[in-house]
């Protein structure tokens, strides 16, 4: 029973962290119409940034500045934002498919650099030497995980409330206006490039925050955590939940992460040993089928975006 509960705590923690990332992605894709093909780079920037800033001093690579934890976490999110700023400045003004390719390239390059630049990231063996905040003070694994879940869940709620407010604000309307008709927005004196860039950076900071939490939870991050497949999983969560709908994004995350975990568990329990090597392979086929199936038969997701028509717009019809 205790095992089940602690597993549940573990599951909800990871799902909530991923949900924060998917919320950030939803701002970019669901509201601004930006196809970020390299979500994992911003997730990774947050993860590496947090561990480098908050970790214990290291001899073999830079970092280990031992900052107090909230500052380190914030620093990770800022690192993701800076990466987004650079990538966005270079590519956002181009055709949307260039943007998708370029961000995909950012992710490949990020993983590659983290794997090779040992002086920066610890290389392929990853980044260790991080003491989780207050762990010594709590001194009980289970209580600590419960507390950590509480922090993650409240951050998820904060992110959700922040984004809900943001998309209902004039800024949110502007984002959707640009997504729907860029030229019309220009004619109203708006600057789509600038607005898109800010949306891209804001979304990436949120993704970076999730990355920071993820790295904190494991007190470890390695290039294995920033493979392009994570981008794909996060996308699947958003598409299934419903792009443009924050509640859908959270629901989609829990659903897909649940299905992912359950299928992994099921295959490792029930499948014959020689098939078990292919567990990941089969999981990716399943998730690929879910994506393509959703796009074919229910592209709006389980929770479609609620399009708000303004009162003046309604009257004229």
């Amino acid at each position: 029973m205790m095992g089940l509960i602690s597993y549940l705590v573990f599951f909800i923690t990871i799902a909530s962290i991923l949900a924060i990332a998917v919320l950030g992605l939803n701002l970019q894709w669901g509201n601004a119409g930006l196809f970020n093909g390299g979500v994992v780079a911003f997730f990774g920037a947050g993860a590496y940034g947090t561990l480098l800033l908050g970790g214990d001093p290291q001899s073999d690579h830079i970092g280990g500045f031992d900052l107090i934890y909230p500052l380190a976490l914030l620093g990770g999110a800022v690192a993701a934002g800076v990466l987004a700023w650079v990538a966005g400045r270079l590519t956002l003004h181009l055709r949307h498919d260039y943007f998708a390719i370029a961000t995909f390239g950012v992710a490949v390059t990020f993983e590659n650099v983290m794997r090779n630049a040992e002086g920066l990231s610890g290389g392929a063996k990853g980044l260790r030497g991080f003491t989780r905040p207050l762990e010594a003070w709590v001194n009980n694994g289970f209580t600590y995980n419960m507390l950590f879940l509480l922090v993650v869940a409240s951050l998820l709620v904060c992110t959700y409330l922040f984004l809900e407010r943001l998309i209902r604000s004039p800024y949110g309307r502007l984002l959707r206006a640009i997504r729907e008709d860029e030229i019309a927005a220009c004619s109203l004196g708006k600057n789509p490039g600038r607005i898109r860039l800010t949306a891209f950076i804001t979304g990436s900071c949120i993704v970076g925050l999730a990355g920071g939490l993820y790295a904190t939870f494991y007190a470890f991050v390695s290039p294995q955590d920033v493979l392009p497949t994570l981008t794909f999983q996060l996308w699947a969560m958003l598409i299934v939940g419903g792009a443009g709908n924050n509640r859908g994004a959270i629901f989609g995350t829990f659903l897909i992460w649940g299905a992912w975990t359950a299928s992994g568990w099921g295959l490792s329990r029930l499948a014959p040993v020689e098939v078990q090597l292919y567990t990941g392979t089969m999981q990716f086929i399943l998730i690929g089928l879910v994506i393509v199936g959703m796009l074919l038969w229910r592209p709006q997701g389980l929770f479609p975006e609620r399009l708000v028509v303004s009162q003046s717009g309604r009257k004229s019809k």
């Binding site: 119409g33 093909g37 498919d97 370029a102 390059t109 690929g288 994506i291 393509v292 592209p299």
Partner: protein, 304 residues
């Protein structure tokens, strides 16, 4: 230095073949197809199957062609693989991309292509196993063309380069001398006007997939001959092929050929200064430099 140049030209030929199909699809259907590189895997693996089949049925085919490590069976297999891959590309379009296209969202297509890539890659892994395979287990020694500067070339590499150039030349004649070539250009320039002039859009699109798939299959077989065949060929080549397409300018077939060689040579040369671990990042750097200097590529036209 010379060795890097020679290796780069060879890689470039393979990338060019892949980029031609991608550039046509991206131009006519207006979406970045992340699953295009998986067509190379399909080609490489179907050639592996046909090769085993042909050398089983007619052992005489299993003899080697001249000094090369490839057999007659493999050449025949490559042609069959080109057909199979072209057909699969067309079917994937019919069952997935076409139906999403009709709903009218370009970015959903990009995402669907991610999904398709993931499915193809993992299904191939499931069928053929995750281990690397080879067309031939014989070791072919490289011939020393010159010792100062050092230049080693395998006979297979010469064959691959010549075959790739021959295929591109054939494509050039198809595009510049046949009604299909004209139809293709007309559709690329203005689909509605082309339809009014009596060109069947769906037929042109299907042919573009078949040609793109066929070329990708050839590229996959050549890649397999020079390296090895594994299910992650697509993952490793997707970025270089995109880079070749962007360098050449989206929509330009000749640009894609040139782009392939530029990316191949640049990536090979870059390893002279960079540690080899960084090679997957090189195509991205090429994309970045190009987008800064000439955003619509060497031969591309600015598009909105």
């Amino acid at each position: 230095m010379i060795q890097s140049l020679a290796d780069g030209i060879l890689v470039g030929a393979i990338l060019s073949l892949g980029a031609i199909g991608l550039t046509m699809v991206m131009h006519i259907l207006r979406f970045a197809n992340f699953s295009h590189a998986e067509l190379l895997s399909i080609g490489a693996y179907s050639a592996l199957v046909f090769d085993a089949l042909f050398s089983g049925i007619l052992p005489i085919l299993a003899n080697k062609v001249g000094p090369f490590s490839m057999t007659w069976a493999l050449i025949l297999s490559m042609l069959c693989a080109m057909g199979v891959t072209g057909l699969s590309a067309m079917l994937i379009d019919r069952f997935v991309f076409k139906r999403i296209r009709e709903k009218g969202d370009e970015l959903s297509m990009v995402f669907a292509s991610f999904g398709v890539a993931m499915i193809i890659r993992n299904v191939l892994g499931l069928i053929f196993g995750l281990k690397s395979q080879l067309y031939s287990n014989d070791i072919v020694f490289a011939v020393m063309v010159s010792s100062e500067p050092m230049l080693l070339i395998k006979p297979d590499q010469v064959f691959v380069l010549l075959a790739a150039l021959l295929i591109m030349l054939m494509l050039h004649f198809v595009l510049s001398r046949t009604t299909f070539g004209y139809a293709l250009r007309a559709v690329a320039e203005n689909p509605s006007l082309a339809e009014v002039s009596g060109i069947r859009l769906s037929r042109v699109i299907a042919l573009v997939w078949i040609i793109g798939g066929g070329l990708a299959a050839a590229a996959g077989v050549f890649y397999g001959l020079n390296n090895h065949i594994n299910p992650v060929i697509g993952r490793d080549l997707v970025l270089p092929i995109f880079a070749a397409t962007i360098v050449g300018g989206i929509g330009s077939v000749y640009g894609a050929v040139l782009g392939g060689f530029i990316v191949g040579i640049a990536a090979s040369m870059a390893l002279l200064v960079l540690p080899s671990g960084y090679s997957p990042a090189v195509p991205f750097m090429i994309i970045l430099v190009l987008l800064l200097v000439r955003p619509h590529g060497l031969f591309g036209e600015p598009q909105t």
